[in-house]
Amino acid sequence: MNGDIIKKIIYPTVGFIITIFLWDRYVVIFDLSEVVLPRPGIIFESILSEYPALLSEGFETLLACVYGFILSIVIGIPMAVLMTDSKPLNLMFYPLLIATQSVPKVAIAPILLVWFGTGIESKLAIAFFISFFPMIVDTATGLRSTPKELLELARSLKCSYFQIFVKIRFPSALPHIFSGAKVAITLAVIGVVIGEFVGGSDGLGSLLMVANSQINAPLAWAALVFLSFLGIFLYVLVVLAENLLIPWNNTYSK
């Protein structure tokens, strides 16, 4: 237990402090201008003075990420079910699905902007477009990997399609669904930030762009710090949900 704390908390903290210290020394020794690389302390000051804006813009970004993520779940999972359970649908649309993934995501952002305007809709569309793919693929993999003995057991007990789905296939797909969700939430954040870069008027992404154009490097870096925390926060939420909903799964993860 003690060794665990040292490994998981002390070591990373020390590593972090060393990195910050070296960063600071580097800027001072090579006399870099603030625009190129601000000192960590200055970024911290910027966070302290600008935190109301950072928080409110951060909240906009957070909302968009969550909505985009939810969108990819509520659309991705049923699509995965249709694709795994209907051979014709699979044959018709799976190639198309793969093709959508070869489109460079950033390149589609301006088009989505034209369709959905500069509000939250276009951010959601980009977040969804980027994050639904792992959701579909992992859910489909999960639904296809039900142990065949369990399906046989169900058949011998004359379970209906619905019973088999709800009581066997879906729960046994949950670990896969969650591994898809962990990728999806990360991608949703990326998607939202792309949306905010390209056309957004709010959110941390656009704050970062504005700060950049005003050559306010400390604020840009402060936005970056907030974005990283936001990403970690959302990821941890998904992991917590996973531990809460599928506690039986710790055989696989540990």
């Binding site: 003995e149 369990l150 046989e152 169900a154 058949r155 011998s156 007990l157 004359k158 729960p171």
Partner: protein, 267 residues
Amino acid sequence: MSAASSHTGPEDPGLGSGTLQNVKKVFGMEGASDLVAVKDISFSFSSGEVISLLGPSGCGKTTVLKMIGGLIEATSGEITVSNSLVRGPYENVGMVFQTPTLMPWRSVISNIKFPLEVLGKQLTDIDDKAISLLKLTNLTEFKNAWPHELSGGMQQRAALCRALIHSPEILLMDEPFGALDELTRMEMNDLLLKVNYQEKNTVIFVTHSISEAIYLSDKVHVFSKRPAEIRKTININLPHPRNPTDRYTDYFKQLELDAGEALGVIR
């Protein structure tokens, strides 16, 4: 039959009995010639008997077992269980597979009750039944554990409880102890006999192990290589209840020799 007659089956002597009449199974293969898995199998079993199907790998034992359970349709021939023709799955079957295949998201007790849940049986004595099965299989203190917290042998015992919870007349077991170590396997053999004695159901047991087949069964059907035919039927006249020392008697060794010869492993 003297050994089998020491069993007392359920009230109706027809329940749990069955016959296979010239059963054949051909699998249609895409883009290849058809595969004859089972050529011509006929045998019958009566209520409460333990019957083993012994044969080389890939000879069609699982296929025969699934046909008895109504999970695979026979290409020709007739299968009757409990006086009615098998035309698909029927609920009076319990199944145990080589791997326990418990649902990892359900506790042990909830896994065991699964068949009742989907069969919609509103038995008032569900809990009594579950508790007596847990006791029989020494799992009482693990009833609320997750499956992954159990050893392989314990998981297989839970799977056995699940197969028995709805009091099926016939228990189909496909190499259920094949993945266990020798010691656990012998324990499970005795447990199965105890269960069979208490529950009085018919057991059809698929195995690769000659000694396991002889120790458990009233009758052993030795299958040929694919396509399966019955090479030899060996009646086992060991007294019930079995005693582990039975394995070391001359009679037992003679039966092993007979089975080995029928399998072609001893020439």
